[in-house]
Structures are given as C-alpha cells and as structure tokens.
Symmetry: C2
Subunit: 230 residues, 2 copies
C-alpha cells in the first residue's frame, strides 16, 4: 500500500508517519519510484504498536524506539523479552542516599524469596518496587513482606493470565516479544482502572454495612443495591 | 514546630513548602509572630502525602490540590471517597467518534455485570477502562469480557486487600479518605512492578520448558534454577 493508505488504515497523519520513519521507529518501505514507497501489513501493525506504546502507554518516542529495537534484535528470545520490557519507562530510581532505600531493599528481597521468584536486584521493575516501598515506609503505610505478599500472589496470577493471552494472541506477522511488550503496556491501564472500580465497589459495601446511608441523597440508586451477589 | 523543622523532618526544601502553602495544598500554620508560624504533626503528614502524590504518583500539583480538597471536604464520607479518587489522573478519555469506543463500552458493561459490580458509566475509571479496551481492540488483542474476567477477579481480590490495609493503617490524625487515596496512588507502582517481575518469572519458566537455553551464556545462573517450587 502507499503512504496515504497506510495513513488512512492506521489512523495516523502522513506527517506523523514520516516522523516515525525519520526517527527509525518504523522501517522504510520498499522504494517503487523516486518519490514513492510501498508499505506492507507489517508496517501497519508496527504503526499501531507505536501508537499504542506512545498514546496508551504514554511511552516517550525515544523510549519507544529502544523498545522496538529490542523487539527487532535477532539474539536470544528470552534476553530480547527482558531487553524490550526493561526499556519501558519504570519510574524514578530509588534514592541510594535515603536510609529507607536499604530497608525497602531488604523487604523486597524477603518478599521475592517468599514468592519463590528468581529476581535480579538490578532489574528496572525491582528498582521501581524498592522506590515504591520506600515511599510507603516514609508515609508510615503498612508495607512489610507480610502485607505485600497478597499483591505478589495477585501479580503471579495476572502474569500467568498475561502469558496465556500472549500465547493465544499470535497472529501472522506478530512475534511473541511484540505481543509481550504490548500486553505489558496495554493491560496496565486495564488493570489499574479495574482496581479503582473494585475500590468503589468494595468501599460501597463496607460503608453500607457500617451504618445507614444519608436518606434521600439519591447518590446510590436503590434499584442496584441487591445485585452484588448475582 | 517551625518551618525549618518541618522542612527537615519532611525532607522538603522550605521554598517548596512555601510554594505548597501559597498554592493551598498545605494549610497555613498558626501565626506566632509577624514573620513566624508554628506547624503541627498534621502539617508533616500532609506534606508527606503531597510528596507521595506528586513524586510517586506523578500527580500534577493542580490535581493534587483537587484531591486534597476532596479529602478535606466535610460532606458525606462515601461521596468524598469518590471525589478524591476521581480527582486523580486517569489517562485519556475515550474517543467518542471512534466506532471501537461503542464496542469497547458494551464489552466493559458486560464485564462489570458479570463481576456483579454497580458501576457508573460516567466515572473516570470506567472511561479509562473503555479507552484501554478500545486500544486493545484496535491492535487486535484479545479483550472480550471472557478474556478480561480474570483481570476483574484479580482486581476484586486486590481491592479487598487494599481496603483491609486502609482499615489497619489508621493512625492518629489520618482520615480514612486520606488512607484510601494514598493506597490507590502508592500501591499502583507496587502492583505494576510486581506484575512485571512476575512476567519475567513466568516467561523464564515457559521458555525453559520449551527448549534448552543457549549454553554458556551465563545470563540465568544455574544455582537459582531449582528454587521455583519452594
């Protein structure tokens, strides 16, 4: 297909596609004349992945290029998966000068051992976890290995679901690494929004059982009140 | 305590504290002279919450002010909880002109009904979920109610854990709403980093069972290989 068709089918302006081509996020098309190139389905899929990374995952363009480079790398598949996921943004690094970082590190090591995971302390998600735990400690929130264990167990269940979906979602032209990166980035907002919805649901039930709601406020429609167990 | 002590104990520069005071994120101290004010433990706790929201949760200062205003509001507790959590950033709104938004909305409604939740379509987490599902549909990833149900169930388990932690983590001067907002924001990076760590773990096991690793690479130390079931 020509650039105009790629633009239309991908829902991305031609100027933006040219920018991605210049920045090396999208491989060049097959040149058919001095001014025109031909693009294939693999370009369309790659274009959609770029949009998903940058728009849904809010990954900066330079970072997206590193992630895509890791996907395209021909070396060992497991290492590529690590490289691609590790290239994703992962928040601020722990502050090594902060004494809480040391305490948070020990807590995370204990948690990971309890879960039976083989974790490398230098990995970006490990460092993200340490700085998040240090922040909780600073505020005095419960975040010892005992409190974090249910989150670790839930994460293990989610990861099994994710990996099974990756295995299911192979399509012609999609590599497993591409699927893994997309699932990591694209299912994060799904998970966070579902957790927030569940918060509302669980709080509603707790508040309802603790005392009568303010009568006549109309904020919680009565017709919905009995469906919780259905 | 004086401003200097608040700065030292909170780990925040006095200029930054003055900025929070001017912007209304932090309530004014009790004036003791023309140039000095006295601050209490509640100021210290509020200061730490502001830092957690803006640094760990990467919430913009103007948004943090709305969240804190919702926390301080004296009206009905359940509504305040909604207002405070809803004031948090929740990503791009769904594109109403996109036909996939309609499909994604139906999918989310079916999922929520299946989970037995009482959800309002206008809520920010609902809209965030619809736009995330539409993005998955656009890329051709599996995201029907059947595929999303395990995520919804995991979110329900997490929300129960969260709400139990909120109940446990009451401290003098901390309101339930404050605890709920902090837990929503502060446990999100914990959860996402644990999921990414679990991805590495699950992929490692799957890849290991599919074929021998490239010998002598040294990337996966052999001494850790047997601990998975422990």
């Amino acid at each position: 297909m020509r650039l105009s068709e790629l633009s239309e089918r991908g829902g991305v302006a031609t100027a933006t596609i040219k920018y991605y081509l210049r920045e090396g996020l999208l491989p060049a098309g097959r040149r058919v004349s001095a001014t025109q190139a031909e693009y294939g389905e693999e370009h369309l899929r790659r274009l959609r992945l770029i949009r998903a990374l940058t728009q849904v995952g809010r990954v900066p363009v330079a970072t997206a290029r590193d992630v895509l480079a890791a996907i395209d790398d021909e070396s060992d598949q497991f290492e590529r998966l690590g490289a691609a996921v590790y290239a994703l943004p992962h928040g601020p690094d722990p502050d090594e000068a902060d004494p809480l970082t040391e305490r948070a590190s020990r807590c995370v090591e204990e948690l990971v051992a309890e879960l039976g995971w083989h974790d490398e302390c230098a990995s970006p998600p490990h460092r993200m976890l340490v700085s998040s735990v240090a922040a909780l400690m600073r505020l005095g929130y419960p975040c010892g290995p005992r409190e974090l264990l249910p989150y670790g167990r839930a994460a293990a269940v989610l990861a099994e679901t994710d990996v099974a979906l990756v295995a299911e979602s192979f399509e012609p032209g999609m590599t497993r690494i591409e699927a893994a990166v997309a699932l990591t980035v694209l299912y994060e907002p799904v998970l966070l929004s579902l957790r927030r919805l569940a918060h509302t649901e669980v709080s509603r039930r707790r508040f309802a059982s603790e005392g009568p709601p303010s009568t006549g406020s109309g904020a919680v429609p009565a017709e919905g009140a009995g469906r919780g167990g259905g």
